[in-house]
């Protein structure tokens, strides 16, 4: 169950992305009006306020992403203007429209290597350092690093991966590195029929470059979004993919199957859920912080929440309209459930009786999420 609050964004055009910071107490939005806005929640009232707004690019801003807070208050944006930028919040007299504020955002660098629109940008998991990945319509994934985290003006292009198809989205695998090499999933919105649209790349420590370790053959429709689930104890990775429907793919690293020459991991991919409830194209996917619930949004204007049980069966547990109101609640909410009943005193006497009559509930035969 959720409580909804509306925010008037004052963006002059479509919002293309919204991103929470690590703690969920700040948000960034970006828009076709070429601006980025930062929002912060007031803990006492729960109201969100815009704390910064600036023109970030000379074209539509497609995506915004936050760095881990241990690197400071840092975001990155990408745009139709073929660039990505890194911004840092600093203390001092405000620039732009925020004169007099204690902090303001400054551009630390502009990444200009792409020849086409930069369609997605994501910071790597913090254990890799301050690293940024971008993907572009020119079919390249570029990975940048800031070697000195105290100096965000210096970024170097570490890798340029040729994906060979127009890229629409990118996702880092957030899994802790002890067992797995760094991994990226790239989605393509290419319209060529029957070609895989999701590619998995891994950083090969021996070759010191990114190599493709898997192309998901089941995903042949254009991909709009994808996201790895946080892996808190699973033996496999979970990837949520927004395409013509919603797919959840389990990627299981095969043990002792590494390619002896290159040291690459072999993955066994399996579709654990194919959800067509949106009855339309799915645009966005996002996991909760523990990787147990996947949110999806579709062309039907609805947001759905999906939860899997320990047997790997996924069910829709909530459907919300784009305005945040519930459309259907698939599972009984915890606050009531089918066990809630109207109290009645069977003897017809005083209502201070200690027991409450169990009324018949109109129960529906449904499977529990976990069984």
């Amino acid at each position: 169950m959720f409580v909804a609050r509306s925010i008037k964004t004052d963006h002059k055009d479509l919002i293309h992305d919204v991103a929470y910071d690590f703690y969920g107490t700040r948000m960034a939005t970006c828009s076709s009006d070429q601006t980025v806005r930062i929002w912060e929640i007031e803990s006492s009232t729960g109201n969100w306020h815009c704390t910064a707004s600036w023109k970030a690019h000379s074209g539509s801003v497609w995506k915004v992403t936050w760095a881990n807070p241990e690197f400071g208050q840092v975001i990155s944006t990408c745009s139709f203007d073929r660039t990505a930028a890194v911004w840092e919040e600093v203390v001092g007299e405000g620039g732009g429209g925020d004169r007099g504020s204690a902090t303001h955002w400054v551009k630390r660098t502009t990444l200009v290597d792409s020849r086409t629109s930069v369609t997605d940008v994501k910071f790597a998991p913090k254990y890799l350092g301050l690293i940024l990945a971008t993907c572009s319509a020119d079919g390249f994934v570029r990975i940048y690093e800031a070697p000195d985290v105290m100096n965000l003006t210096q970024w170097s292009l570490q890798h340029e991966i040729s994906v060979k198809v127009s890229c629409s989205c990118i996702a880092w695998n957030p899994t802790y590195p002890r067992h797995y090499a760094p991994m990226i999933a790239v989605g393509s919105d290419d319209t060529t029929l029957d070609t895989p649209k999701v590619m998995i790349y891994e950083l090969n420590e021996n070759l010191r470059r990114w190599t493709k370790i898997e192309s998901l053959q089941d995903i042949t429709e254009p991909v709009n979004d994808l996201a790895f689930a946080p892996n808190l104890g699973r033996s496999h990775h979970m990837l949520g993919i927004a395409t013509k429907d919603l797919k959840i793919i389990a990627l299981e690293p095969l043990k002792e199957q590494e390619d002896n020459m290159t040291g690459s991991t072999k993955l066994n991919s399996r579709t654990v859920a194919q959800c067509t409830d949106h009855n339309s194209t799915v645009w966005r996917v996002a996991w909760n912080v523990t990787g147990t619930i996947l949110a999806s949004s579709g062309d039907d204007g609805c947001v759905r929440l999906w939860k899997g049980n320990y047997l790997g069966n996924w069910k829709c547990i909530s459907t919300m309209r784009g305005d945040g109101t519930h459309a259907v609640i698939e599972a009984a909410p915890a606050s009531t459930g089918s066990f809630g009943a109207n109290p009645a005193n069977p003897s017809g006497g005083p209502t201070s009786s200690r027991y409450l009559k169990l009324a018949a509930a109109a129960s529906q035969t449904k499977d529990v999420v976990w069984h």
């Binding site: 169950m1 959720f2 409580v3 609050r5 925010i7 008037k8 963006h11 002059k12 055009d13 479509l14 919204v18 929470y20 910071d21 703690y23 948000m27 076709s32 009006d33 803990s43 074209g59 539509s60 807070p69 241990e70 919040e89 254990y127 985290v149 105290m150 946080p230 104890g233 966005r284 996002a286 912080v289 523990t290 147990t292 949110a295 204007g301 609805c302 047997l311 919300m320 784009g322 305005d323 945040g324 909410p333 915890a334 459930g337 089918s338 066990f339 109207n342 109290p343 069977p346 003897s347 006497g349 009786s353 409450l356 169990l358 018949a360 129960s363 449904k366 999420v369 976990w370 069984h371």
Partner: protein, 633 residues
Amino acid sequence: MEVETKSNYGKVILDYGPSGLVIASVNKDSNSTASVNKDSNSTELRVLHALHLADNPFIKHFMISSSEIFCKLQEEANKLFPNTVPQSTVASYSRKYRGILRELVASFEEARDSSSASLYYNLEFVWHFCEIMFISSNPELPVLPYYSEWIHLNFDDSKVVVSHLEDELSEMDSENAKKMWGVIFKLVFHGKTKEAASYLSHMNPTNSPVVEEQIASMSELMRKRPVYHPTLHSVTNYERAWSAWKEEVELRMSHRIFFGHEELLFICKIMLGDDAAFENAKDKIDSWYEYLGMTLTYKYPTARPGSLKGHAKLVIEEFGFHDPANMVPMERVLLEAMDYNIVSVLRDMQLHWNYPWFTLHFADLVYCNGRFSSLKDIELESSSVGLLRDEFILDHGTTLMQHATMWQVGVRYLESIPDRGGWPVIKECIQRKKALTDFDTHKIISVAERFGFSGEIHGICRERALMKLKQGQKQDALLWSIKAGDGPLTTHILDILLVDGTCDIEQSLLESLRNALPCADRLLFLTGFCDFRKMMDRKDLRGAVSQLCHLIKENLIPTRMADKIALNIQHFKDRNTTFEDWQVSTLMEFLHTRVNPSEVGDDMFQKLNSVLLCNRAEGIVKSLNSAKIKLVK
């Protein structure tokens, strides 16, 4: 050709954060073209904050209490491992859970939230029955004592009714007499014949001697009815006593002792297990499980738990429930419990109350006791109580971890999952806690330290240091960066501090710097400079000068600090103290090569220079004088 305007119309953009969802959606306008009116904001942003059961203060208190019971049980189980926790101990913990459930019901009743009171009342009702089947009762012994107690606890309104009739007991009108008989009948149905007997004395309003005698006889029979107790009686002896008692009831019936008294005859027939009387009793009974209790009490008093299901089926048919699908969910759970189908019980409880509190704690009790923990689901081989228990704990613990104030309760649950199964969730969630104060941060760090999450501690401390720096609290920032063990950040903060020029760092901080690992050159300077300041405070000029020269020789003084450091030279002016030649030379070289006269001011520069020259001159004079004295000698 690239197209800037993405087909975004109708898209819903979203993100999922620690506290909930944010959704950005476009308002669809059926009259619009594909291009958007750029002059108006056509996108709404909605933040959905996830509600939690624990947001309710009653439930929060309930959850904290249940976590305390849970933790104590885990401690007990760990102490006894590899043995299981004894049945009696597990039963006592189960009663504790029921106790707090009843407290919760009382709280909601007091707050007039009847819906919530009803929900938790029903949960306690089911829990109690499951406790009987899976924990308290012995499969080899009669189940009736437990079953009767369960029925009586939940369906006894005798005290309430009697309290309303208290003033009229001696002179009851027919309506009140009817109510009183209703109380007596209910007590008889529940097997509480002794309590029923105590009310019989009020049921002779006309003081008829015949009725008096009948009542006395019935009271005697009621009081003599043997009641089985597992620790006091053997089954054989009890059966013998019960048969004897039944014979006596039959005898009095055959002697027509209760002839003419409709109510007493009814009671007598009930006690004899007469089918016609049982049929009449249905009008006075609310549910089939109450009826089942009566059946067991007067027909099958030594029935074992395993035979309950068979008796229940017959009773249910008599009550007219021919299709189990028409039963309320809770009743299905009771039947599954009678089947000892623990996995189905847990499944249905979660189906109908989509929160794992019941399933988690009950599964844990069964798991600790060990008796049914190896049972698997009939259909799914891989289900077992142990596996389900861990899954429920993970679910409940994860939800609690994401609550603002209950996360420490979540930690307690998650650390009870075997093989550190809950640790990844703890690790992920605690670093997502936005600490507003240093106290909160220390709380989070202390939990992280307990689990050895050193990487996360580094991140938390580093982030705290950056936040303090942003707030202008440089010394606090320095403390946090040292705690993080972050050399580059520490250097960065020290540089900022040193740029301020005063080196005005608290003594206690400098002391802690001395004890910290020397992770930055700046630290070496500051600790050395701390010693210098101490010596100056003590007027130990020789020591101070020696220390300062050491800092200069080791090239530890940052360039930006040289001017400010040099100003200390003016305090070296003391006729009684002369310094070593090399010290004066060092200071002189420092003054002339590292200090910018325009920064300190020409006058001051000259003053500093003259202090050193004077000290050097006095030194020369002293040495000449001492040479002269030697010559004279």
